[in-house]
Symmetry: C2
């Protein structure tokens, strides 16, 4: 069965509505919303002579640079542990396609995990997140789910974690992560940790990777789409565990990668090599982006909570996952019974584009939504640069206006 990427589909739909003259506050797509760093543009412009296929895993230079990036984060890494691909999504797909058994997913979690599991013929075992944070199942609930799955004859083989998390914009605390790693060890699960938002944690010192707790069984995926705002350049990587499991995964991944995409485009490998060496302009850009995301995400959180929604405070990236259950009474006059209907109503009647939590594996009856805040930074490159360099981005007219429109939309929700 083929499931369309819900995020990409909504993005295309919002663009079409805007092209037709409608005003839409676009909170539905996880694009970082920032212009390309000029030095990055220069690196790509200087790499236009590179047209060889090169190694499937990527050049030694680009892999060495990524190894340094991980080492500076407390994860000693050999270049041989790194494999590049056209987006971390492609590497996740390849990983799932070489695994046997079922995949354990936090519920809710990013739309593409379950869709990819479906495409690769893997079953999905959902395990609820905690009240504190998403991206990681609540440990007690996870054990019950695993026991139940085994009793049903299912074979949990791997678990995907998202640190920090999309859709909730939160970071699982260290003690919860330790409990999860302990369970992974007891149930012999491979851990696939999607760390694509890692450098966008508002308090970076709180970040801990399962690769430091369970190094022999953790694959980390990442890429330049978020912190570097290069979504449209499709630059991703996987860091494989050191040791036997990592070596055999590498062989299988190289086989699949070679048959699907051959290699990451050579000029893009140059970009990766440059960015992962972390020159100061890259560090400064990521840091400014992080501050902007925090300011706007926190402001949107305030609007949501003021309107009566329940919502975990954001800790990373540009996502919020509000629950509008407290507003359910106001929806009595509508035909809304769950998240999908609510998202439709917000788009069609109130000009607000968000995704239903249902898309992320959540209960269809829940009124939970995934709100992405990064497309508020402006419609022009100039606005986006000003957002990035502003000390008070939420006072910029285009951001303030979007916050107002959201506030009004929520105030009017359910009224005829």
């Amino acid at each position: 069965m083929v499931v369309h990427s819900a995020t990409l589909e909504l993005d295309e739909r919002v663009r079409a509505r805007r092209a037709a003259g409608h005003h839409v506050v676009h909170l539905g797509f996880g694009e970082a919303g920032l212009p390309v760093l000029p030095e990055v543009r220069e690196v790509l412009a200087g790499a236009t002579g590179l047209n060889s296929y090169g190694p499937v895993v990527g050049s030694a230079e680009a892999r060495g640079s990524a190894a340094g990036y991980f080492a500076r984060r407390g994860l000693p890494t050999e270049p041989e542990q790194v494999i590049y691909g056209p987006g971390s999504k492609a590497l996740l797909f390849a990983l799932l396609s070489v695994l046997g058994g079922d995949i354990v997913l936090p519920r809710p979690s990013w739309v593409s995990y379950a869709a990819q599991a479906g495409l690769t013929g893997r079953g999905v075992i959902g395990a609820p997140i905690s009240e504190v944070a998403g991206g990681v199942p609540e440990p007690n609930g996870l054990e019950r789910v695993l026991e139940g799955a085994r009793a049903d004859g299912r074979k949990p083989a791997a678990m995907i974690l998202t640190l920090p998390d999309n859709p909730t914009g939160t970071l699982a605390p260290a003690e919860q992560l330790e409990a999860i790693c302990d369970i992974a060890q007891r149930y012999e699960l491979l851990l696939i940790c999607d760390e694509i938002y890692r450098d966008l944690v508002y308090h970076p010192e709180r970040f801990r990777s399962p690769a430091t707790i369970a190094p022999e069984r953790t694959v980390v995926t990442s890429g330049l789409s978020k912190a570097m705002a290069l979504g449209g350049w499709r630059i991703g990587l996987a860091r494989l565990p050191d040791g036997r499991w990592g070596t055999s995964l590498r062989t299988e991944l190289v086989g699949v990668a070679g048959e699907i995409w051959s290699s990451l485009a050579a000029p893009m490998q140059e970009v990766a090599g440059y960015v992962y060496s972390e020159p100061e302009e890259v560090v400064a850009y990521v840091s400014r982006g992080r501050r902007l995301h925090e300011a706007v995400s926190t402001a949107v959180h305030r609007v949501l909570v003021s309107a009566g929604a329940r919502c975990r405070p954001p800790q990373a990236a540009f996502y919020l996952y509000p629950d509008l259950a407290p507003l359910r009474g106001r929806l009595a006059g509508t035909r809304v019974t769950g998240g999908t209907g609510l998202a439709e109503l917000l788009l069609e009647r109130h000009g607000v584009g968000v995704l239903a939590g249902t898309m992320f594996g959540d209960d269809p009856g829940a009124l939970r939504l995934r709100v992405a805040t990064s497309l508020l930074y402006g419609d022009t490159e100039e606005q986006r640069w000003r957002s990035l360099h502003s000390e008070n981005p939420t006072t910029l007219p285009w951001i303030a206006d979007a916050l107002d429109r959201l506030r009004r939309a929520l105030a009017e929700l359910g009224k005829r």
Copy 2:
């Protein structure tokens, strides 16, 4: 089961042997061996500000440009029929993953078809090529194979054709193609026609696409890796049939593409839009490349035939598929019993890198090899430009030297 891409693997092995100081005539990899056209470099350098994900299928501009490219070749095409991806290989993979049933492949055919069929869980039904040309099964043999497959309860659903062909460097004649399209119609097969070498047919007027004969059931795949020598940029596309079958395939392909690679990198879409508009410098570059490929391929063919091999004369691109059966007696003192052993012997003892026909699905006992001639154009960018602009490329020292080495290697084959 995961099979490594044999072509990519040999390329990496030859590079490693060279790095270790060995001289290797590299005839083992289908990289076009030419530098990037300066105007193409400028387009990429001018596209470094584009960082949005954009539509899964690619931008309207890039698709419109490809539609024009096909229209100029007698295939009226709407932009909606075009979908881009990171290489035509990725699109082939996505196509196979949305089809049910078994895949019919010419035997021999390009290494990745069978490997991708394996990855997507499709069975392979091999049908031998004719003495005249590869890329298309011999029609009578095909009918027998299809009848046998059906009798065995198998479900042939699609057939992949390669026009012109890799590994044989030939172009199936029109009457053979018509017979094949007739069979496809009677057996209700989808035709997937890999036309990535189309613009490298030495006599372009002889080319005919099954999309003009059986338009409702033919998907064409192509890309910029060969005629534009942009293998390392990973720019591919598929042209879907107009009509109901095409529309449903598009929906499914968009679903798979969105979950694996999201979209072709935005700056690369700009390159595609430019190239497929076919400005005169692009046409001139492709035409010069075609002439160079013809000159060198024809010269290598002469060396092979002079050494006693049987080989179809090249008609396109930069491949030859010699049969060294006439030389089998000379291999008596070696342990060579088939293509794989012969390719090993040539690499290890004679410094010639080629692939065994076995890799392409051929009989393991046959002494057939896939010879790629495009890496002879030089080791430096300057040499490659000189090859491209030479009136007599085979007299250039680096090409003449490689031809000599190949001649000597074949003369010494089997001697101790």
